[in-house]
Symmetry: C2
Subunit: 204 residues, 2 copies
């Protein structure tokens, strides 16, 4: 029974992995469920044992992956002390996605924008939790006196997410040089840490 | 003859205006050319006098509008002296798009992400010029000694664009309160201006 469940989970995961590849290559709208099945090496009908339709695959993929990302982010941030170090870690985790999971990053970024309806109905909880985790770091920095008080943690979180997203977007179109992306990440960390720094601690 | 040309330009513009509305409501993939025609009050065949197909409408729309935005941005920035004022103006122009031209902003933002192929082949020149205009402001600030030298103008430009884009994305999903967006814009300006400030001028 447990074995059956594991087998099911393994197959579901294989379908999701294949969906990432096919969505990234062809785009969501141009993908057919039968192509995902072929890539996963399962029969078309098998897909429907796990997912209602193509939309459901995308939604499951998004929620599953952003959930894991959020868990990982919380785990890593909890191990750090200073708000500046935490900002640097957020930057390296978000940009790191591009290197380690390029297809997934593309699916998440593109599909976040696919439609406001999609984002509002399905992606919002996971995406909001992501922003909340960043906002909590900013707020913590404000409480410790490291960061200035006159910035909304949520605005700073959206801006930092967006800055990294903008960088990712232009990076995938450019040389895709990993060192270059790492240097860019350091510069963005720097802009945000200095830009958020409380006046009394400036220059220290 | 001139009148004929004006009439043509007027009709082309009407088709583009209608396309913005329909794309924003239904998404690019779900839009039919016949719906754009109906909204514009022209026959289906008329569309094909001006555009090859639906892709061509989107590409024309994007290039036409981002071209105008770039011109307007250059005009307004040329009238300002200080790099900080210029950064503030870039912020208010990009966020202002959401208020004055919400549908257009949605079409541009979403379609920039629709596919890397689209972005690479067609949108890149206009989008790159937009980033170049911002990067030139950063570089100017570095030359005048206002901004630190250890940040790539291009990285700062992508980050600022992205930060505003991230803010726009979350704003359209939220309360859509114009005052709130303006305040958020001021905070982002602040983060970037302080984050970019050259060390020797810190605190002045």
């Amino acid at each position: 029974m447990v074995q059956e469940r594991n087998k099911g989970a393994e197959k579901r995961e294989r379908i999701l992995q294949s969906a990432i590849k096919v969505f990234a290559r062809k785009g969501f709208y141009n993908t057919r469920v039968s192509e995902i099945a072929r890539t996963a090496g399962v029969a078309d009908g098998t897909i429907y044992l796990y997912f209602k339709n193509k939309d459901d695959i995308l939604i499951s993929l998004f929620n599953d992956r952003i959930g894991k990302l959020n868990d990982e982010m919380e785990r890593q941030l909890a191990a750090l002390d200073s708000p500046s170090e935490k900002v640097k870690r957020i930057v390296s985790i978000q940009l790191g996605l591009l290197r380690g999971h390029k297809d997934l990053a593309e699916v998440i970024t593109i599909n976040l924008r696919q439609s406001n309806r999609f984002l509002k109905q399905y992606a919002a909880p996971g995406f909001n939790r992501y922003l909340d985790i960043i906002a909590a770091v900013i707020q913590e920095g404000q409480q410790s006196g490291d960061f200035r008080q006159d910035v909304s943690p949520r605005v700073a979180a959206c801006s930092l997410f967006g800055a990294l997203d903008g960088l990712s977007l232009t990076w995938v179109l450019g040389t895709r040089d990993a060192d270059r992306l790492a240097r860019a990440g350091q510069q963005v960390s720097h802009i945000f840490i200095e830009g958020l720094r409380a006046p009394e601690t400036t220059g220290t």
